[in-house]
Amino acid sequence: MLKIKNINTYYGQVHALKNVSLHLLEGEIVTLIGANGAGKTTLLNSLSGIVPSKSGEIIFAGVPISSLAPSRIVKLGISQVPEGRQVFKPLSVEDNLELGAYLHYRTAAGRAEVKKTGDMVYALFPILWERRKQLAGTLSGGEQQMLSIGRALMAKPKLLLLDEPSMGLAPMITQEIFKVIESLSQEKKTTVLLVEQNARAALKMANRGYVLETGKMILEGAAAELLENNDVQRAYLGKDKKEIWER
């Protein structure tokens, strides 16, 4: 459903993505791993239209999207859960979710659907229902991450981009969030592109994986294969290290 062909993206003078290609099939969970500064976030931002790519093609469900504005891309069905959650802290949890469905408020039919989608999100993250009147800035990190995912889901995306959802969270919370992502893919048939530093957990959940290094795609394959791959083990999974950090 998504095809990225040889895109190049620049941040000012920095050539952040070099001829990167990637594809996603409908219903897949694909993970993108790589070190800090490898260009993972840039890739997501190019997909979302925040940092448009200079060359190459991005085709989503048959539509070229590389030159579209971010709001058009959301409308086509790609939602991003940005790095560091980026919830609207001065607004209530309810309002944050409502804004997630911003584009659906344009039509009467969309407005009618918003409540249903909201109920779905609250069912996924019951804690958000309890906190719906609170300002988003008063939530804990894990709750903010849930809110950020919930906000993205409010747009009813076909493709969900997640940028390091486990960043700065306790392992328990990370597990909970990963479970939700898995259930989204299984029950709602949402396609997921997951960027993670926690490579092992991500690869365990994903169908396929890509490895990005300094702006270049260096490896791709089935998640299970990548887990076994020697280079991946050494560079991203901490081979020869005791695995106490990981349950």
Binding site: I50, S71, Q80, F88, K89, P90, E98, Y105
Partner: protein, 294 residues
Amino acid sequence: MDNSRQLIQYVLSGLSNGAIYALIGFGFAIIYNATGIINFAQGEFVMLGGMLTLFFLVFLNFPLVPSIVLAILISTAVGIAFERLAIRPLKNANPLSLVIITIGASILIRGIAMLVWGKDTHALPAFSGNEPLHIAGATIMPQHLWIFSITVLIIAANKLFFNYSIIGKAMRACAYNSQAASLVGINVKTMVLLSFVISSAIGSMAGIIIAPLTMTSYDVGIMLGLKGFCAVIIGGMSSGLGTVMGGLLLGLLESLGAGYISASYKDAIAFIILLLILFIRPEGLFAKKETERV
């Protein structure tokens, strides 16, 4: 008795000027929150409101309400043109250059107004006569009542818009984090344009309701704009209660100072307050400490 009557008089005129400052301050805050720039052309919309109403009412003999509506519409159109022509094309400019551009725009608008309407000072007729009302021993002009009620209406409408409408919430989201806002599908450029629409409309409304009391001319925008800026600085750049309080406080101090010390210090008082705030509490008197957890 005479003394207390005088005091009430000062307080009344202080509050009504303060209400105007608060409205002008709102204009500053809305644009600042949406774009991070201080729009020093804000005062010119205030001037345009007064002068355009005068133009339609006195020179073209339109009735009052259509004159006011036309004046607001035209000022808002100027606000839109300003954003489209001077702000949007420079999307990656740093805020300081944009602020300087707003100063340039302010001079341009003022210059055009001078060419079109001349340098004379005009009085706009009061909305409902000049027969003073006597309330609790003080005289109050009907125009004061207009100012208070329209200000309250605008503040209430603002509050409703920014807290309960999806567009208003989207504007706040955009002000807080424009990248995250665009990721949920909010068109940031539209929100910026909208902030100019709202500020120029509120600014011109302020100019219209104050004109019958203070007279109007092509250059009233400078002083009123700076007073509004002062109000919003006291209020901590918020488009909420802080700026209202800031405006009222400024109006009161100004009018009491002018009454009891000397009328010639009226403007100086505003700027002394502005400087004091900027030196001692640049975040404003009423800025709330945000509770944040990361």
